[in-house]
Each structure stands twice: as C-alpha cells, then as structure tokens.
C-alpha cells in the first residue's frame, strides 16, 4: 500500500507534515471532516428512509468512500465542474450541495434538486458545479471532456473532475474520453474510485492491467495511484493534477484505492466477498477514523470538537429528512415539463 500507517509514525513539524496540513488552515480541515460525516450520515439517513419505504427505486451508497469525494473536491470552486456516477451522493455533497434538497429529490418532491424527475441516480446540483450523477456506467466520461473543452475554449480557468468507478474503465467511452482529453490537453481530472468491484465482479477478473492508473500510459497522461481512504493523499494528488490542468498541461488520471462497505445497491447479497474482507476495511482503514486520528494528533481538533461535529451533522440530516417529508409532490399535470426548453 502506498499510503501511510493508521497512526502516522513521524511526528509533525513543518515540512514533514502531510500535504493537507501544510496547504489548508485548521478551519478548512475541520470543514473537510464535517463533510465526511455529512456524507456518511446522509447515506445512513437515506438507507434508513429507504428501509422505511419513504424512498423508492434503488440507491448506491458510498459509505467507506468519503475520503475520495472530499479530498478531490476540497480545492475546487463552484465554477469548477464535476461529472458523477450512480454512486454519487458523496460527490454531490462534497461539491457543496444542500442535503435537504438531496433528500427531497430522493423523496420525489418538487423541492428536490431535479424536481423529483431524477432521484438518486441523477442527483445533481448544477449551481455548485455538479453536472450530475449518471445511470450509465461510463456515461459521464465524454461529457466531462466536453465540459473541459468549454473551459479551454472560453479560457475560464476552470477544471473539470470526472468521477467514475473501476467498472467504467472497461467501457469504450473511458478510452475515447481519455484519448480526446489528452490530444487536446484539456483541463480535466479523471478520478477512478476503485472500490475493488463492479457489482460482483472484482477488478482482477474484469481488468487486464493491475492498476487502473496503468491505463494512463496509453493516453500519455500521468497515472497516479493513491490511498483513497486517506484524505491528505487524495488531496495532494488532486492538487498536483489541478495545477497541471490549470497550466494547460492536460489531464491526469488519479486512481483512489477504496472500498464500499454496503452492497452494490439494494439488491446485493454480498456473495462475492468475505465478511472478513469487509471488516478489515472497516476496522483498519476507515477514512473517517483515520482522518480523525490524524487531526487529533496534529492538534486540529479534540474529541469534544469531533462530538460536536457529529451532533451538528445529525441535526442537519434530521432537518433535511423533515424538509423532504414536508415538501410537496410534483403535479402529474406537469409530467411533460422539462423535456424541452420552454420557449417564448
């Protein structure tokens, strides 16, 4: 593993500090921790609401993958854009969405980000630069490249982040998108969240190369492997990729090695992996626990501060669910609205 030990051995002093602590102030770091808790509690709240029949359809939870969402989005502005995946709740929150409107969307309400037309699989907050989750594996890759083409043509200075899973790297769209981003030197960062599986199929069984990042070589871009559960590692790789993109040097492929705790979706019986494997990740490499330990060790926060964050997030989640419950349903008479742009 490329990452660091759970209880970082080297004592922090100045230059030896991990990237995150050199680059961001304590307030920002506590904010990052809060976002990770917000994602986790949002997922738990969504799961519970689903169990209670308040949310229908299906959903893909990102519990266990919070560090990559938060580490990647930490340095982005609302003008920087992302494309997301079916496992996209965390990306949406990390990019700045309001959990109330996300819950409202899952509940199918008019106050939801997509006015109840999209649900979990199409969750998007365009106002914070999220162009949307996607129901099609690999669907967002070419779109992200197109958004990056806009950034380059308009000289906006924005970057585009394209999140995708390990499963998506075997789609043709992945290869076409990376190639075009490279030949045109576009400001796009491809972020593969390699959680080891595409549904039940392990990366070993599905992908010819050992690391997804190895594929970057075929498109003459840097391929960076990071310990995806370590916020600082993710943020550092992202920072370097962003610098490169903003300087006009083109795309980077970042592979975050991570793990999802829950099943693929609501129908998963977890027959393709062992309990031990799941438990090992949960106890040894939990992204939130590792980050909390690091923050405490470096004196960024103490236990009371952590408790306060958790409680504050719990309140925000409860309020979000309440907001969603109380919001109005869409009017069936408006079924065909938003198919086309309304014109005068």
């Amino acid at each position: 593993m490329a990452g660091k030990a759970k209880n970082g051995a080297e004592k922090p002093n100045g230059a030896n500090l991990p990237f995150l602590y050199r680059h961001y102030d304590h307030e920002t770091l506590r904010g990052a921790l809060r976002k990770m808790h917000l994602i986790r509690q949002f997922e738990e709240g969504a799961e519970e609401s689903y169990m209670r029949g308040l949310i229908h359809g299906t959903m893909h939870l990102s519990i266990g993958q919070e560090a990559s969402a938060v580490g990647i989005c930490l340095g982005l502005t609302d003008e920087d854009q992302i494309t997301s995946t079916h496992r996209g709740h965390g990306h949406c929150i990390a990019k700045g969405a309001d959990v109330s409107r996300m819950f409202a969307e899952f509940f199918g309400k008019t106050t939801g980000y997509c006015r109840g037309r999209g649900g979990s699989m199409h969750i998007a907050d365009v106002s914070t630069g999220n162009l949307g989750a996607n129901g099609i594996v690999g669907g967002g890759l070419p779109i992200a490249v197109g958004a990056a083409l806009t950034a380059k043509k308009t000289k906006s200075g924005n970057v585009v982040v394209c999140f995708f899973g390990d499963g998506a790297n075997n789609e043709g769209a992945f290869h076409e998108a990376l190639n075009m981003a490279a030949i045109w030197k576009l400001p796009v960062i491809f972020v593969c969240e390699n959680n080891g599986y595409g549904m039940s199929t392990s990366v070993e069984r599905a992908t010819a190369v050992k690391n997804i990042a190895d594929r970057a070589a075929a498109y003459a871009m840097p391929g960076v492997i990071v310990e995806g559960n370590v916020v600082s590692d993710v943020a550092q790789a992202m920072h370097e990729a962003t610098e490169r993109a903003r300087k006009g040097e083109g795309p980077t492929l970042i592979e975050c090695k991570t793990y999802r705790y829950r099943g693929h979706s609501k129908s998963d019986r977890n027959r393709y992996r062992t309990k031990e494997e799941i438990e090992e990740w949960m106890t040894e490499r939990d992204p939130i626990e590792m980050f909390e330990a690091e923050l405490q060790e470096l004196g960024v926060i103490d236990m009371a501060g952590i408790e306060a964050i958790r409680a504050d997030v719990a309140r925000e989640i409860a309020e979000g669910i309440e907001f969603a419950k109380e919001s109005p349903m869409p009017d069936v008479a408006n079924l065909e609205k938003y198919v086309y742009t309304e014109q005068a």
């Binding site: 980000y113 199409h122 162009l131 099609i136 890759l141 070419p142 197109g146 076409e176 075009m180």
Partner: protein, 336 residues
C-alpha cells in the same frame, strides 16, 4: 430584424447551403463550433464543411479521432456548459455507436435534472441509400431517434430548408438531430443570402391537390413531386406534404390536408414497418380526419432488408417514382 431585410436569392447546392448556414452561425456566435471526423482539411466525407477550416481555423472546425461515442459525448458536455457544438457524423449509420450519448444523455439530461440545464447540441447525419455503399453506410435511422422524447429530429429536403432549418437548429436550446440525404448534397435550388430560419416542427405543402395527400420525407419529397407531375397529366391532382420535422411532428398540416383530399399515402425511405408512415397513419386514424377517409391508407417505405450493394437491388429497396405513380393511381382510381 432579419426577416425584413431583403436578400438576394441564388442557386446553391444542398451541401453548400449547409456550409453557408454553419459559416453564418459561426460568424454570428462565437460559441458555435464544428466537430467531426475529417471535417478540417479533408473537408468532410461529403465536402459539407469544405474549406471552412481555412476561414475559421482548426479550433472551430475541429477534427476528432474516430470516436463517435466519445465525440458525441464531448459535444453534449460542451453544449451543457455553454457552447453550441455542431457534431458531424461521417455517416448516419455510425449513430449506432453513439446511441448512449444521444439517447441516454443528450435527450434526457434536461429532464433528469428537472430543467436545470439545456443541451443545445446539433448533430448532423449524412443518411440514406443510393450511393452503392451497401448495408452499413446507407441506412435511414431518423425514426429511431424520432422515438426519443427530448430530441428534435429534422429532415430537410431542399437547399433552402437545409440552410434555414440548420440555422434554426443551432439557435434551438435543445438537441436537434438533422438527417441529410446524401443524394441531395449535390442538388441545387434557390437559397436566400444571409441569415434566415425555417421553423422546426412545421411541415410544408409543396404542391396543392384535391385527390390524394402524399406525406413524404427528405429525398422522397422530390420523388413524390415527380410522381404528382406525371399523374396530373392523367387528371389526378395530388397534394404533396414535406414533413420536414419528424419530432415534433406537424400533425395539423397533415390532418387539414387529408380532410380535404380524403386519401393518404406516406412515402419514406426508411424500413416500412414501425416507422414514420405508421406514425402518420395512426395519427390520422386517431384524428378528426379519419371520418373523411375514402380509402385505406397506403404506406410506401423501404423493403424489410438491409440495403444491398448491387445497384438494381439497391434501387428496389426503396420507393421509386414509378412505384409511387402506380400506387397513387391505384389509390385514387379505387383499384386498391
């Protein structure tokens, strides 16, 4: 404003008319740019972009790799973030490689996001048979895309409409798919200079008549007009409607015509079953024009086969003027 400016009209080919529309759009709006395979110095497989790269440079007349899915997706991404891309497929058949981005992404993005975005992308598809290019380079897939809410699908039949509809498409906030029949590219016709638009969603009555309504699309409009000319010598008076837009379809123009003529025939090149003819026929059957029908509706469409290579077989695959004359005469004289 443009409408009141008197402009000269001259003869241009269909391909030239399209090229002129793209040039005008690029001059008027810096967000407009072209993407496609070999559309730069090569000028496009059918020379539609021609020398535009010399005028606008390779940034705005962008050659893409041979990546239909990725290229279409890049166009979608550029459109959703504020540009106005025009994506040229080298052949309409290659839409099959890009269906994901066209059908799942471009068409649905606005809806899925509850109206938060628009996708003002234009995709151009050189379509149809008659060039000896056989089964994978000759198809007419407009009904496939016409089946997808969120897309607009047009089929200009003349140089005038090719220019005006393309300009309308570029200015439209939603994804517009344009099927251009390859055999029309060299056809000449009057085209006004400067900027004008032809509205999407409006059919055009190309010829008025009393005895029969022929609803035709694309190149079949010309074949139907030729057939109508022939039959006028026999005292049969045919109305020819150029549908122009497949989605959203101009139902009223067809209904009004059938109420007048009491007979309907649909002529289109795509495979006959489950196509535009079925839609137009069903639409009439559901409408107030149904009671006015004096005869069964007739559809003339493509044969239930891939497009063959042999020129005689290829011709036999799609409706020809003789066949239209025969079928129209039978329909009007009650022989059928």
């Amino acid at each position: 404003m443009d409408a009141i400016i008197e402009t000269a009209t001259r003869e241009l080919s269909y391909a030239q008319a399209i090229q002129e529309a793209m040039a005008i759009a690029m001059e008027r709006d810096e967000r407009v740019f072209l993407m496609g395979e070999d559309i730069g110095v090569y000028g496009g497989a059918f020379q539609v972009t021609g020398d535009l790269v010399e005028r606008f440079g390779p940034e705005r007349v962008m050659d893409t790799p041979i990546s239909e899915l990725g290229g279409a997706g890049v166009a979608v991404g550029a459109a959703v973030t504020g540009l106005r891309p025009i994506f040229e497929f080298q052949f309409s058949d290659f839409a099959t490689l890009a269906m994901e981005q066209i059908v799942n992404q471009a068409a649905k993005m606005r809806y899925m996001l509850g109206g938060a975005v628009s996708v003002p992308v234009v995709m151009r598809f050189p379509a149809g048979s008659g060039t000896g290019a056989a089964a994978q380079h000759s198809q007419s897939l407009e009904a496939w895309l016409g089946h997808v809410p969120g897309l607009k699908v047009i089929q200009p039949a003349t140089p005038h409409d090719a220019k005006g509809l393309l300009l309308a498409a570029i200015e439209d906030p939603d994804p517009v798919m344009i099927f251009e029949h390859k055999l029309l590219y060299k056809m000449k016709g009057p085209v006004p200079e400067g900027h004008y638009t032809v509205p999407i969603g409006k059919a055009d009555v190309r010829r008025e008549g009393r005895d029969l309504t022929i609803v035709a699309t694309s190149i079949m409009v010309h074949k139907a007009l030729e057939a109508a000319e022939t039959l006028s010598g026999e005292g049969i008076d045919i109305e020819v409607i150029d549908l122009r837009t497949v989605r959203p379809m101009d139902r009223q123009t067809v209904i009004d015509s059938v109420r007048k003529t009491s007979r309907l025939m649909c002529v289109y090149e795509a495979v006959k079953t489950l196509g535009i003819g079925a839609e137009v026929s069903a639409m009439i059957a559901e409408s107030e024009a149904f009671d006015y029908l004096d005869a069964p509706i007739v559809r003339l469409g493509g044969a239930e086969t891939p497009i063959p290579y042999n020129p005689e077989l290829e011709k036999a695959t799609v409706p020809q003027v003789d066949g239209i004359v025969q079928a129209a005469r039978d329909l009007v004289t009650g022989a059928r």
